[in-house]
Symmetry: C2
Subunit: 242 residues, 2 copies
């Protein structure tokens, strides 16, 4: 059982985070102020520093929370075990579609948190290699690329037409990912990561443009439009066109 102080501390941290999240959501990340949070929860500004070393530390906590939350949402939508275990969905490409839709849904439901993750980074900042943000990123990548690998293993994806492979030597990072994916589909070709990267960029580009409001002129039903784009990409991917 946690001691009284420990429970109080957890409650206070939660209160601080809730107030901070509300400030970020309603006013944007730059408007997050220590003093504002302190006012919202009825505490002195100096008191916050018993829980966070700096304003940046608070923002970082919000960011990692958002990241893991997004990774959870995408994993859940794909039927992908939260611990990394594979449920072997019957239709990997359908699960892939669901994952991308979940990605968009999450981003549009909480644009401030999404932009906290993928918006303007602070120059020179390098995420710690084993930090939570990198972990969450890899979890999303594992779902997206893993489902693609399962589809390949099921024979649902044709090899790429054209001859892009020769022109693109894969990096060590791609080799690592490829090695892991080959646990799911041993005969994955070298250009597989590159091909799926295009799909991921399409997802991210569409969502980013929509969240930042640069697509509203073209979209009457953005959700249906996004799904249509994803279906088209999956079909092209399936046929080896991309």
């Amino acid at each position: 059982m946690a001691t009284r102080r420990e429970r109080a501390r957890l409650a206070t941290v939660a209160e601080i985070k809730a107030a901070a999240l509300q400030q970020v959501a309603s006013l944007g990340a730059p408007e997050l102020t220590i003093r504002g949070v302190a006012r919202a929860i009825g505490m002195s500004p100096a008191g916050i520093y018993r829980y966070y070393d700096s304003r940046d530390a608070l923002l970082t906590d919000l960011l990692t929370d958002a990241y893991t939350d997004l990774a959870d949402a995408v994993s859940a939508a794909a039927g992908w075990g939260p611990a990394g275990g594979v449920d072997a969905p019957t239709d990997p490409l359908a699960a892939l579609l669901a994952a991308t839709v979940a990605y968009r849904d999450w981003a549009l439901a909480q644009p401030a948190r999404f932009l906290l993750i993928f918006g303007t980074p602070v120059p020179g900042y390098q995420a710690p290699p084993q930090g939570p943000t990198v972990t969450a990123n890899q979890r999303m990548g594992a779902v997206f690329f893993g489902l693609g690998a399962l589809a390949w293993a099921a024979g649902q994806v044709a090899p790429a037409s054209g001859h892009r492979t020769a022109a693109e030597p894969t990096t060590e990072g791609q080799q690592d990912v490829l090695a892991q994916l080959r646990d799911l589909a041993p005969d994955l070709p070298d250009d597989f990561v590159t091909r799926m990267l295009g799909g991921w960029a399409l997802v991210h580009g569409l969502v980013t443009l929509e969240v930042t409001g640069q697509l509203h002129w073209a979209l009457s039903d953005p959700g249906a439009s996004f799904t249509g784009h994803m279906q088209a990409w999956i079909e092209a991917f399936r046929q080896g066109a991309v």
Copy 2:
């Protein structure tokens, strides 16, 4: 001939913008401070207010400059007349490839300015409908979509396979764009804007991910990789796969 004061004013405003741009480029947009600019050019903080009403006004000026600069770079690379006139390039799809490469090159050469444009927007901000940012955006769109239309007119692009069109009624915005594009290619189908939007999102997604440093694990030669993705998309587009 401009009067002495007018020349001095132009010089001063240029000096302010240069100092501000340097601050943004080296430290990021949040670190742009009126007082810092004032220090850099040897002026009192209050003096800056003779030239800009507020810090936001200065930032907005930097943003519009960046936007028109980017639009210039893309237009120039595509051989597209700066005033909107068409040079009717011999190979529209090659020009399209060049335009997207120019987009990436500009973004990576000046990441701070790129993120000023496409990074986290301030919540609730709505760009003025006839403002310079909208104009620059439309200029880039005109190049990208216009080249696609020219390729269609030249018979280089196949109709979309699949049946996405029926599921997606085009919006008024798409209708407007379509009407303009049909000056270049009268027989453009209704789903043409949607198809090219996918290409644009792919471009933007790849560049955004690369600029924010979320793709370095996968890219040994990012420029070649980007070009490869663009060539693959153009080929798939040409064949009607996307």
